[in-house]
């Protein structure tokens, strides 16, 4: 036992100092230190194996391409010169205990300046490390945000609030569709998304024919769920934020059970496999929220992502058939982080966060956006602006339109809050 482990307030430096034995035998980090003078290390703490790996691994692949491109262009320019970027991955297995171990390793031993996470279940495990060290973390799931997590930001996607844009688009472009059903896995990803879709349908005047079906995440047979949904004769079937492992078999069942209406989903990762399991005609018009990056619409001036078409081509060359919703998201977070670090002239978490939030606005990948979220998340740490509505046309994902999330929220925010409260998803209910 050692004396002097009273660490309130604890800084990373003091934390490490207080556990000298740990430091003494953190050989990897210590050995690399002299060679790292001009390297900024970024932690990647996400599921790389297991059922949720589809929302972690493609992101890491995307980040590595991003790092190559940035490093080739001279790296990140801070006050003390240019720095190369290096990603340090840790597989959190979508488990809070592993996330805690990973967060400790990345922050305390690997010397990272920023940690990117998928969020969700693992976040509470990493949260004490963030609290104690002041390390800047990012999540793809703003439902992790709260007033007591000032160093957690959601700068890429405001899941699930952006789902309103597709419903809004549908109501305007296909006003004949008036009835819907929905199913979702009963978990931390599914439930806030259910509340959001219910709000969006209500705002659009689309009637829900029955309560959303919440299935257990261990479900593998979707035939009874699809049968029950189709029994009411809906015009729209909404797949909420189902994982890829659910979206594909549900689509197959919808196809086999004769549904020919509108399919709406948050994601349609690996949609070529959906086409293979159904048909090109059946998938035509399916709406979701995540574009392929060879889309010409991404070459618009307001897009804050360097050469999206080239990025997509490189990605597909190295990881054919693996492009998914998160392939670009972590990389886009890095764009934002890089801009803030260069503005601050430092990779120190507090300085980067301050630079990022200066003026209350920031360069989101889909255009200028505002730091927002006090209403829903208890803190303005979500970067919100436009989001694309994507449809499959002739077997290919195409952006139909960019729609403003804040504009929708200004009109229908109270409805969203009502449903979020109903499903216990407001920050003060969590």
């Amino acid at each position: 036992m050692r004396k002097g482990w009273s660490l309130l307030p604890v800084t990373r430096r003091r934390f490490i100092g207080g556990a000298a034995a740990g430091l003494a035998l953190a050989p990897a980090a210590a050995r690399r230190a002299p060679a790292q003078d001009k390297v900024v290390r970024i932690g990647f703490l996400a599921p790389l194996t297991g059922p949720v790996a589809a929302w972690g691994k493609p992101g890491l692949d995307g980040c590595r391409i991003w790092a190559e491109r940035v490093n080739a262009a001279g790296g990140i320019r801070l006050a003390d010169g240019s720095h190369q970027v290096e990603f340090v991955p840790y597989d959190d297995e979508y488990d809070p205990a592993t996330a805690r171990v990973g967060a400790t390793k990345l922050v305390m031993e690997e010397g990272v300046s920023f940690v990117m996470m998928l969020g969700g279940d693992p976040w509470p495990g990493a949260q004490p490390v963030a609290d104690r060290t002041g390390m800047l973390f990012s999540t793809l799931l703003p439902s992790d945000l709260g007033p007591d997590t000032p160093t957690l930001i959601a700068p890429a996607e405001v899941h699930p609030v952006y789902n309103v844009t597709a419903v809004d688009w549908l109501a305007e472009n296909r006003p004949e569709l008036k009835t819907a059903v929905m199913c979702a896995q009963d978990d931390a990803l599914g439930l806030p998304s259910v509340a959001t879709y219910l709000a969006a349908f209500e705002a659009a005047g689309i009637e829900m024919l029955e309560e959303p079906i919440l299935f257990d995440p261990a479900t593998t047979d979707f035939a009874p769920i699809v049968t029950r949904m189709l029994a009411r004769g809906p015009q729209i079937v909404c797949l909420d934020t189902c994982y890829t492992d659910y979206v594909h078999p549900i689509c197959e069942q919808l196809f086999q059970q004769g549904f020919r209406g509108q399919v709406l989903s948050c994601t349609a990762d690996f949609y070529d496999q959906i086409i293979a399991r159904t048909s090109k005609e059946w998938v035509e018009g399916m709406l979701f929220q995540f574009p392929d990056f060879d889309d010409p619409a991404l070459n618009a001036d307001f897009i804050n992502f360097e050469d999206p078409n080239g990025f997509f081509a490189t990605y597909n060359e190295r990881h054919p058939g693996e492009w998914g919703a998160v392939s670009w998201e972590y990389a886009s977070i890095m764009d934002l982080w890089k801009a803030a670090a260069e503005k601050a002239g430092s990779a120190e978490p507090a300085a980067v966060l301050a630079a990022m939030k200066e003026g209350g606005k920031g360069p989101h990948i889909f255009g200028e956006a505002e730091w927002w979220g006090a209403d829903l998340f208890g803190i303005d740490n979500a970067l919100v602006g436009n989001w694309p509505v994507v449809a499959i046309e002739d077997g290919k994902a195409r952006i139909k339109e960019f729609r403003s999330i804040p504009a929708w929220y200004d009109r229908h925010g109270e409805i969203l809050k009502k449903w979020m409260t109903e499903y216990g998803q407001m920050w003060n209910q969590r």
Partner: protein
């Protein structure tokens, strides 16, 4: 004398261990120590011949109960941990009424169903269980001063010493139970249940006793984990985690007290230290699976058998080198 020296040396190694590890390895050590008690308590149940698939869920009962007692009734954390363990034992007692109407494979499936019901209840009732997201911001173990020593239980080394003390006492208790007439009766219930019944042993009552004791210790593991991690959710106590416990027990072997513990340590080190260290981050499930298959093929009696053979060989070598009188 030799035995006393062995235990003293082991205690010294366990106390010094965190000093030789990095912070993240200390974090792993905390969870490994908890898991050692979990798998040792599971073995107590297997002594009666029954294998349950609800052990990890029962661990979750301890985690949830302890967290809720601390949050809603302002019970001090150490007391809430004990209450959590007692609640897990109580839930096991309730479950034993329907479950021990079955034996063998039927008990296994019944225990799985019972565990799933409990998990579904956690998911279904946001109040008080937090629904699918579970409980977060669980009250941590409070820091305290012991003379010149200050224990901040956020730090893995401090928490490790707490867990080590609790686990050591628990393992000693389990050991004493196994070596007592109670443990011998558990063995009789397993291997000679008809004979035991004919001799007046209430087989069902003894199986229930093993189930309740094992569950109490599993609940204690859950409580220890929850107050360290600060969160407990239904996914963390699913069948996937149960498979890990089964694997530790099978690879280690269940014939001896130390078998499952060996399995737990070996597989955890393999998975979290060796494979990660080799940079096989994403290949771990495949490598882990391969090792399991090889272990079952070439070590059907588990690692405990390997250890026993090694010890026999060492003793044999020692005897051969002793000079003739």
């Amino acid at each position: 004398m030799r035995r006393a020296l062995f235990w003293l040396a082991l205690a010294a190694v366990l106390i010094a261990l965190p000093q030789g590890l990095s912070l993240s390895q200390q974090e792993m050590l905390v969870f490994l120590t908890i898991n050692i008690l979990l798998v040792a308590s599971y073995r107590l149940l297997t002594l009666t011949g029954e294998w349950s698939l609800a052990h990890v869920v029962i661990m979750g009962v301890g985690a949830y109960a302890s967290a809720l007692y601390a949050a809603h009734f302002a019970v001090p954390v150490p007391v809430s941990m004990l209450l959590g363990a007692a609640t897990a034992a109580g839930v096991a007692l309730l479950l034993s009424y329907p479950l021990f109407r079955m034996k063998g494979f039927y008990f296994l499936i019944g225990s799985f169903a019972a565990g799933e019901i409990i998990r579904l209840l956690w998911r279904r009732f946001r109040e008080p269980f937090g629904g699918p997201r579970g409980l977060t911001r669980i009250e941590p173990m409070p820091s305290f001063d012991l003379g010149v020593w200050h224990f901040d239980f956020f730090l893995p080394a401090s928490y490790y010493y707490l867990v080590l003390a609790v686990v050591a006492v628990s393992l000693w208790t389990l050991w004493r139970i196994e070596k007592s007439p109670v443990g011998l009766t558990f063995h009789a219930v397993h291997w000679q249940d008809s004979l035991a019944q004919a001799a007046g042993v209430n087989v069902r009552a003894w199986r229930t006793l093993a189930f309740v004791i094992a569950s109490g210790f599993a609940g204690l593991c859950g409580a220890l984990g929850a107050h360290y991690l600060g969160t407990a959710n239904p996914q963390a106590f699913g069948v996937e985690q149960m498979v890990f416990v089964l694997t530790w027990a099978i690879v280690g072997g269940t014939a001896t007290f130390h078998g499952p513990i060996l399995g737990c340590i070996a597989l955890t080190v393999l998975n979290d230290v060796v494979l990660r260290g080799l940079g096989l981050e994403q290949a771990r499930p495949m490598a882990y699976g391969l090792v399991l298959i090889l272990a079952v093929l070439f070590l059907p009696k588990g690692l405990e058998d390997l250890l026993a053979r090694a010890l026999r060989r060492l003793r044999g070598a020692g005897a051969r080198t002793e000079p003739a009188p």
